[in-house]
């Protein structure tokens, strides 16, 4: 019975997340539909006859009322029928799902690498507060945080793939139907760029949180009790400073979902970034809508995990449930 409050809390958060997604889906649908230019006319080109445009609009269901189009679209997304791409005429599940998988893999790699690194940097900088490591790391992180991803990526290419060291390929060689791990070496630079983009933020919050915890009464108490420093840090300081960091990790993972658009373009990685660019240009609404929904879902999901994670690691919040 002890676990019920937590389960109820999780259920409430999931419900709220789904509600947010529903609002977002209405927003995506509304905005993309309201945009000027008729996709059917764009698809058929300049000299299409009005009849051909009307026929195409009928084929794609664009002649129905907006609410009916929306429910049809949402029903399709929920049941796994994602519709058909306007420009390639392929079903989305065939054309876009592998790319989404590629990008999610890239995102997961970046998260798995950057989270432990940034937590470690932040914690260590807090321990060595105002000493060499703290100052040096804060400056490096500051520089990395200021630059846009494509500049960091270009600098990495200059440094690691072309001029200074020639150890890594400058682009990914991956056809969309290959699994993303088929070219691990080509994955290094994109992942590294994304890691550079988010590590500064997480590390800084971790440092601030750890500094606060290290000055708290219970850490002093633990020290005064004569506990070895190692135990003080690992048992008392670290677990308590991680809580507030979860929210920032979530925000940053969601931010990465935008960062991949740039990084994929830079490294020629076949993911949602390149697909989105093309889709936007050719007014491929089903693709744009679906990708926007996927990216928003990443945001909702990471926030959900962060909320639940924060409660689980913070005893004070856990008992309040």
């Amino acid at each position: 019975m002890r676990h019920t409050p937590i389960l109820r809390f999780v259920a409430k958060r999931v419900l709220f997340g789904l509600l947010t997604l529903l609002v977002i889906s209405v927003l995506i649908f509304g905005v993309t539909q309201a945009l000027p230019s008729d996709p059917a006319a764009v698809m058929l080109g300049r000299d299409a006859t009005p009849e051909a445009v009307a026929a195409l609009r009928h084929d794609f269901g664009m002649d129905r009322s907006l609410p009916s189009q929306y429910t049809h679209w949402l029903g399709g997304v929920v049941s796994g029928d994602l519709g058909t791409s306007f420009s390639t005429r392929l079903p989305l599940s065939e054309y876009i799902t592998p790319r989404v998988a590629n990008s999610l893999f890239l995102l997961a790699c970046a998260g798995l690498v950057s989270i432990p690194i940034s937590l470690a940097i932040g914690a260590y900088a807090a321990l060595k507060r105002d000493k060499g490591f703290d100052n040096a790391s804060s400056l490096v992180l500051l520089v990395l945080a200021a630059m846009p991803e494509f500049v960091v990526g270009t600098l990495l290419v200059i440094l690691l793939a072309t001029f200074v060291f020639k150890v890594l390929p400058a682009t990914t060689y991956l056809s969309p139907d290959q699994p993303p791990w088929a070219d691990m070496k080509g994955l290094v630079l994109p992942v590294l760029t994304l890691v550079c983009a988010v590590t500064p933020y997480v590390a800084r919050v971790m440092r601030a949180s750890m500094v606060e915890v290290l000055e708290s009464d219970y850490v002093e108490m633990a020290r005064l009790k004569g506990m070895p420093e190692r135990t003080v840090l690992l048992r008392h300081a670290l677990p308590n400073s991680v809580g507030p960091v979860f929210q920032v990790i979530a925000l940053n993972l969601a931010y990465l979902a935008g960062g991949v658009i740039i990084v994929e373009r830079l490294f020629n990685f076949p993911g949602i970034g390149s697909a989105l660019g093309e889709a936007v240009r050719s007014r491929d609404l089903p693709v744009v809508q679906f990708l926007a929904l996927v990216i928003a879902a990443v945001y909702v999901l990471t926030n959900l995990l962060a909320d639940v994670g924060t409660v689980l690691v913070t005893p004070r919040l856990r008992t309040r449930l």
Partner: protein
């Protein structure tokens, strides 16, 4: 937020300033300027701003002038050779910063102005209005800034007007969050109640009582947002969305000359270092300011 936390800020003089709680922007600037990193940032960013603004007058060739065969590193009569299209790299570099900088400044003014307005209004209104306003803005946060800007700009046109509007509006919820957080402590203070009691209008309370008390946070936020706006607008140009076709633009230059990187590196080197210097210089200034204002280095979410 405006209270200087002397315990965390060894570099700020504890004493009168921290007791007064209301600190005035000039003193924040002056304190920040005493820091080495702010000084370096100011010099670096200043040089890049000067290049961006005055470069076009110094350029030996026009931005779209054909001067020789493409991708030649030491083409005659050029300083850094020619680019992918046979244009002078040095001239295009000198022309390439102005539009990014001007658009970024406009977008920042729009986004930070509106964001501050919403944030302060939400904090002052409290209750239902606050909740509703912030929830509505939160929904926008679900979309990364790049994604929203990309979709809107591509659907309409990459004209300067559209770029400023989209980058500005996507900045609004992010700024509103921070400014609301800064103002929420101020609206609880007695002088706000006193101002209301003597019959000051709500608008006057908002702008003459609350706003001056969050001006330090506003200063940091504005500078930080300018850094991000430069980065975002450069990124959009990198993706090919520039106001004019084949205009000289640092972001676009990196994209255009990327494939010839090993043959003619200058076409990529110059704009890359320019954007890096501009954003890092600005970031150093932000960091100096936020150290003075918040007392601790700001662990800020990347939103």
């Amino acid at each position: 937020m405006t209270v200087i936390d002397a315990g965390h800020a060894p570099s700020t003089p504890s004493g009168s300033a921290s007791v007064l709680a209301v600190d005035r922007p000039p003193s924040v600037l002056r304190q920040a300027l005493r820091m080495r990193r702010t000084q370096i940032g100011l010099v670096v960013a200043g040089v890049m701003v000067a290049i961006a603004l005055f470069g076009p007058y110094l350029a030996p060739y026009g931005a779209r002038e054909y001067v020789g065969s493409p991708n030649v590193r030491n083409a005659p009569k050029t300083r850094f050779g020619t680019d992918y299209f046979g244009q002078d790299v040095w001239s295009r570099f000198l022309h390439g910063g102005r539009s990014i900088l001007i658009l970024a400044v406009c977008a920042t003014i729009l986004g930070v102005g509106l964001g501050t307005l919403f944030g302060l209004a939400a904090a002052y209104a409290r209750g239902r209005t606050d909740e509703l306003l912030m929830r509505a803005l939160d929904i926008l946060l679900a979309f990364p800034q790049v994604l929203l800007s990309l979709v809107v700009i591509a659907m309409f046109s990459p004209s300067g007007f559209v770029v400023v509007l989209t980058v500005g509006f996507t900045t609004v919820p992010r700024v509103a969050r921070i400014m609301r957080g800064a103002a929420i402590g101020v609206v609880e203070r007695d002088f706000i109640g006193a101002a209301e009691a003597i019959g000051e209008s709500r608008r006057r309370v908002l702008f003459s009582e609350i706003l001056p008390n969050v001006s330090a946070t506003l200063l940091v936020e504005a500078n930080l947002r300018l850094t991000y706006a430069v980065g975002l607008i450069a990124s959009l140009s990198f993706l090919g969305f520039t106001p004019e076709l084949n205009s000289a633009n640092w972001g676009l230059m990196i994209q255009e000359n990327g494939s010839a990187l090993t043959v003619q590196p200058w076409g990529v080197f110059l704009p890359t270092f320019a954007i890096a210097a501009l954003t890092v210089g600005n970031g150093l200034i932000s960091d100096g300011l936020s150290r003075v204002v918040a007392g601790i280095d700001r662990g800020k979410a990347n939103v």
